[in-house]
Amino acid sequence: MSELTSLTIAAAREKLAKKEFSALELTDAHLAAMERAKDLNAFITMTPDLARERARESDKRLFAGQAGALEGIPLGIKDLFCTEGVLTTAASHILDGFTPQYESTVSQKLRDAGSVMLGKLNLDEFAMGSANITSYYGPVKNPWKPKGRNAELVPGGSSGGSAAAVSAHLAMGATGTDTGGSIRQPAAFCGIVGVKPTYGRCSRWGVVAFASSLDQAGPMTRTVRDAAIMLGAMSGFDPKDSTSAQLDVPDFEAALTKGVKGLRIGIPKEYRPAGLSPELVALWDKGVEWLKAAGATPVEISLPHTKSALPTYYIVAPAEASSNLARYDGVRFGLRVDGKSLDEMYAKTRAAGFGAEVRRRIMIGTYVLSAGYYDAYYLKAQKVRALINKDFTDAFDKVDAILTPTSPTPAFGIGEKFDDPIAMYLNDVFTVPASLAGIPGASIPAGLSADGLPLGLQVLTRRWDEETLFRVCQALEDAAQFPLLPAV
């Protein structure tokens, strides 16, 4: 069966159309792989019965010639997307037993395109984390192992379950969400493609909110083409999300063949902080050479407010989170720990229901919004955010895309950096600026470290210009010849 799980979405699509195998067979192959790889802890909830049912429906549509864009393709859904009738946890104890009566717009669109949901993928609690270690349902293991060592590595986060599942061929693709790097960094750690589209490209309706002005859903796949196919199905205006854009969805797949000839590629000089692995510096240089060879022109650019991005992010995101997470109060759904008074019930429920990292961010967010601190923190952060946005606007006057590393290091061991939240936050140093600016970004697996671990390069483009993003990603993928993990 491993030959079925080794297929790309694009290949499976063709073979399903040619009836080389059925959607049910394809789904069964992945369900079997999920069973075998249970120790990765990539899934919080597996939905095999539902998956088979939907695969059978896909087969009917395939037979009737009514196939959707993702007909019969087995996908994992990050457990931050509300799914009708299926437990939705956000990897938090506080959502115990929460089964939504509604389906998020993005997962509904994927369903409407014919895809088959395999289950709900593990993540950092409320998508807060960079190593998938804050999940109430336990850490996810990176399917990659360092050469010659028997260490367990983190998959990155927060979309760690998604990255691990796709990397290990448990799903052909998965949804992720990215608030400060939660798609791109785990994609880099697990050697897959992860795309965070422009803020507003995918509806946030039905996605458990972390930081509303930053949260954006996106695809995680093993190839650039698969990401383009999946994003096409996920995107589009949603009247239920006031921040979603009333724009037509371009044919992302069609952009893939356009090449990078004549594109100007910006290389930001500020993206070389202390702690950046020399291996990544070398890979970055290689990436520049690849694009040059494909006909693009590298241009050194400056993004002067880069160093302020991380502190700005860690004010804006917790501020919004502290408010977004107020609804988890034990009154209407999820966990409730009774108390003698309403206030005591709140305190006990939230103390028991939220993990340490979520509590930390609620405290930070509450602090920066409180009277007397608002101007110094939140308001100032908003101003800096505007400057960071301007950095990119100015840069995109000169270049068509920007190339950087995705994260400063490859995946680290489970247990490392756990006591030092600041060191953990530094993982997001390259991904956070694009989140603050709302521009699209993608991580492409581009090489291996000396340890044999995946290294990712990040591509950024102008708002709404995912087509150029895919063109550059395709060129890098073609040149890098990255050795994906084999299906098992």
Binding site: T88, A211, K240, E320, S323, A326, R327, V331
Partner: protein, 485 residues
Amino acid sequence: MGYIIKGEQHDWELVIGLEVHAQVMSKAKLFSGAPTEFGAGPNTQVSFVDAGMPGMLPVLNEVCVEQAVRSGLGLKAQINKRSVFARKNYFYADLPQGYQISQFDQPIVGEGIVVLDMPDGSTRSVGIERLHLEQDAGKSIHDLHPQKTYIDLNRSGVALMEIVSKPDLRTPEEAGIYLKKLRSILRYLGTCDGNMEEGSMRCDANVSVRPAGATELRTRCEIKNVNSVRFLMQAIEYEARRHVDVYESGGTINQETRLYDSNKGETRPMRSKEFAHDYRYFPDPDLLPIEFDDAFIAKIKADLPELPDDKQGRFITEFGLSAYDAGVLVTEKENADYFEVVAKGRDGKQAANWVITNLFGVLNKRGVEIADSPVSAKDLGRLLDLMADNTISGRMAKEVFEAMVETGKSPDAIVEERGMKQITDTGPIDAAIDKVMAENADKVEQYRAGKVQVMGWFVGQVMKATQGKANPAVCSELLKKKLEA
């Protein structure tokens, strides 16, 4: 202003500002499609958004924006073409999101003005500070179970306009008149039904006192959720007196939120827990700023109805009413409409008198609104016609009116049935006069001797003799002729 609290040390004057929460008239809630009807079963008008379910997002109901702009125009206020929704964060069991979506530093409507008609005929202008849109919370019901609180989320997410006055009010009476005037304006505009019993209009009063003539503002207390004009005036009176007593005994007033207990007629502080909030306002990232252009405002402006002040002015010039009578008639649009039907093509002053004195008297006695009036405007107008063409006298009209109230029949039918037609034919009146004069020669003598006051007595006798049907004018004319003959 005439309202002074005499203390031992000072004469004290009041400084009052009102915050009115007016429920926007709209079919759906501010950020969800759930209906807003009053009186539905608990938790039957609740969408996933209103219940604060995970992943739910607010989508602005544009009707509510139009209503806010319409209200702003009615208050002659600055309309802000760009305004921002902010989250007001606090925990309460009937606040599902853990925050209220409101407007903070960038409201949709800025400064405006409300003109009050005082009973002495003068007017007072009260400044409006702002009007902003916000969502209502649900309702906590504490008395259905000894240990539990029940929550009804039907109100959760319903659109409110918070209308904040400047601290321009100086007496409890002014506060009451302001609230009534504001209610009247909003009802004319059709932006709030003003129903205080159903909670679609609620009022918080900010009250402080200061030595008469001083310009400083002293510490104020906020009296929350007063639900009638009468209670508002009582609460302000009590609270002001309390401040004076505290100051005069050397104490200080703490800024606090208080509740008015209408049974005891006093205000008392809310438990500190209930209001010691740092609301941590910040712009709601789920919503875009509200933006519209001049054309949007112009379109709403073009559709504005005639407002109470304009109607009052028109009634004065068109019907020759006094400012006071016109003011009384225009307070409720339904009353004004009724009056116009009665007055059209008739004597406006007479129409106003009948509506204000007779009709309102009946309505007050029965405790009904004009919509349930036992006498239609058309019938009342007809009654005036019967007087005008001398079919009946004024006195008879009162009797006919009473019969109309009792039976609901038309004045013509009543006059016909009861044979109440006034006698204008001089024959029967002549006969009656001759008879009265013959039987009362002494009175005739008195009159002829110059005691003209007995004329009234003669009219009365003649009316009596004709069972009140004689036209009084005809009667006195003929009497005069005969007595002076």
